[in-house]
């Protein structure tokens, strides 16, 4: 069968078997290997991508079911050369060790911040509770997400101040937010 979907803002059409899972479509057909494939049983969450803006486990979604819909993968997280604050947070706070769970964690974290820009540690832990890190890294992952939340809040404040004083200038959100590293 033929399937057409939009992946990271690019429309793709491919001939596929109906039984092909979305995770394998992304990795094997499109070559987007940033999405990892782990347990195969919807437990580990390393295959999390967005389907119409919501995180889903792509090992339990048929590629055919994504037809006509919007898919976003970790490759679509950065804006060109500029990393998403979530990605910056994972760098700044050592949110990744082996890196296997990282793409799924970052996609879930981005969706969380889009809905809740100031999540508590408990809310972050709830959001990633369907995803497994075997490097025992949850503490740094939580810290990374908080870093991103603070960085985005600070960037938003700077945007407001810049707008108010009519000053043009780049927003620097690469600095270390004090709260997140404390």
């Amino acid at each position: 069968m033929q399937v057409t979907m939009t992946v990271n803002d690019v429309e793709v059409t491919r001939e596929i078997e109906a039984r092909l899972l979305l995770v394998h479509f992304l990795r094997d057909v499109l070559g987007l290997t940033g999405t990892h494939w782990g347990c195969d049983t919807s437990n580990c969450g390393t295959c999390v991508v967005w389907l119409d803006g919501e995180p889903v486990k792509s090992c339990t979604v048929l590629a055919a079911m994504a037809g006509g819909h919007q898919v976003r993968t970790v490759e679509g997280l950065a804006k060109g050369a500029e990393l998403d604050p979530i990605q910056q947070g994972f760098m700044q706070c050592h949110g990744l060790q082996c890196g296997f769970c990282t793409p799924g964690m970052m996609m879930t974290a981005r969706a969380l911040l889009d809905r809740n820009p100031d999540p508590s540690e408990t809310e972050i832990r709830e959001a990633i509770s369907g995803q497994i890190c075997r490097c025992t890294g949850y503490a740094t992952i939580v810290r990374s997400v908080r870093w991103a939340a603070v960085a985005e809040a600070q960037a938003a404040t700077q945007v407001t101040e810049t707008t108010e004083s009519s000053e043009a200038g780049e927003i620097d959100n690469a600095g270390q937010p004090a709260e997140a590293v404390a």
């Binding site: 069968m1 039984r19 195969d40 509770s129 369907g130």
Partner: protein
């Protein structure tokens, strides 16, 4: 790599279209909604079908929670997260949010649906216990728009088996609304998001401090989620008290039919049935009073 055996994929554009596809394809086809029960079973070759009919496009038609004067109506394609976040359910039946918080995980809850959970008819399934507790009615639609309404007892024929025929679709769940209601759900699981070792739902209806009616639904302790009429009979007309919850717990333990498996011994599960019945009744009464 686990993938399902080959099948043909069809996408339904309306409920009537889905039914016409089912009429044509019969028992060789299955509806797929969230897919989080069906696809793992197909990967493991526990289930094989020639056709899958994708009904996710029917969310506009079948994804809703509506409060009426006599009942709350929930579309079968309403997703777990929508149930968890529904202000209507939070006000009328907090048992839903209790249960949803312990069903799988947030990402899975973005996909899974109420109708899919009930139609999977897993004996450990939480929303079946919730719907049993609330005395839900299931609306099943068939060819020609014919609808029939069945109770949860009639809906679940056996493990993984429902009253929905090959050319029918579950479209709506109706929950009767009566005054003075409080409800709660509790589950013991081995790890976060797992199937229940045992779970219990309780609903009570109070009038002037006395229990007008009470219902308890247990999961994972028998072939189906079980409503326990003996508990309702024992509690009606009584003032809520710890000794009454104790009595209900004893009835729950005696009424259920657990088996010893890797999740625990039958004896342990009976203990849980009693304890969770006590806890949820206590919480349901607190909520009814507040």
């Amino acid at each position: 790599m686990q993938v399902p055996a080959p099948f043909e994929y069809e996408r339904a554009t309306s409920v009537d279209h889905a039914i016409s596809l089912l009429e044509r394809l019969g028992g060789t086809a299955r509806l797929i909604a969230g897919g989080h029960s069906l696809l793992p079973m197909m990967k493991l070759r526990l289930a094989n079908f020639d056709y899958l009919i994708d009904i996710n496009d029917l969310h506009g038609e079948l994804g809703y929670v509506e409060a009426g004067p006599d009942e709350v109506r929930i579309g079968a394609l309403t997703r777990h997260r929508e149930l968890l976040e529904s202000p209507v359910l939070a006000a009328a039946f907090p048992i839903f949010a209790d249960a949803e918080r312990v069903i799988a995980d947030p990402v899975v809850r973005n996909r899974g649906t109420l109708g899919g959970s009930l139609c999977q008819a897993d004996p450990s399934e939480d929303l079946s216990a919730v719907c049993t507790t609330l005395d839900a009615r299931c609306v099943i639609r068939g060819p020609g728009g014919a609808e029939r309404v069945v109770s949860m007892e009639e809906f679940h024929v056996g493990p993984y088996e429902t009253a929905v025929a090959d050319d029918e679709i579950l479209v709506e769940i109706r929950l009767p609304v009566r005054p003075g209601c409080g409800s709660a759900y509790a589950k013991v699981e081995r790890r976060a998001g797992d199937w229940a070792v045992v779970s219990a739902g309780a609903a009570v209806w109070l009038d002037g401090g006395a229990i007008v009616d009470a219902r308890v639904g247990l999961a994972a302790v028998g072939p189906n989620t079980t409503g326990i009429p003996a508990i309702s009979a024992a509690l009606r007309g009584q003032e809520p008290s710890e000794s009454l919850y104790e009595q209900a717990g004893t009835i729950a333990a005696d009424s259920c039919d657990p088996v010893t498996d890797q999740r625990g011994s039958a004896e342990y599960k009976r203990h849980l049935a009693a304890e969770l019945t006590r806890r949820t009744l206590r919480r349901a009464v607190e909520r009814a009073r507040s």
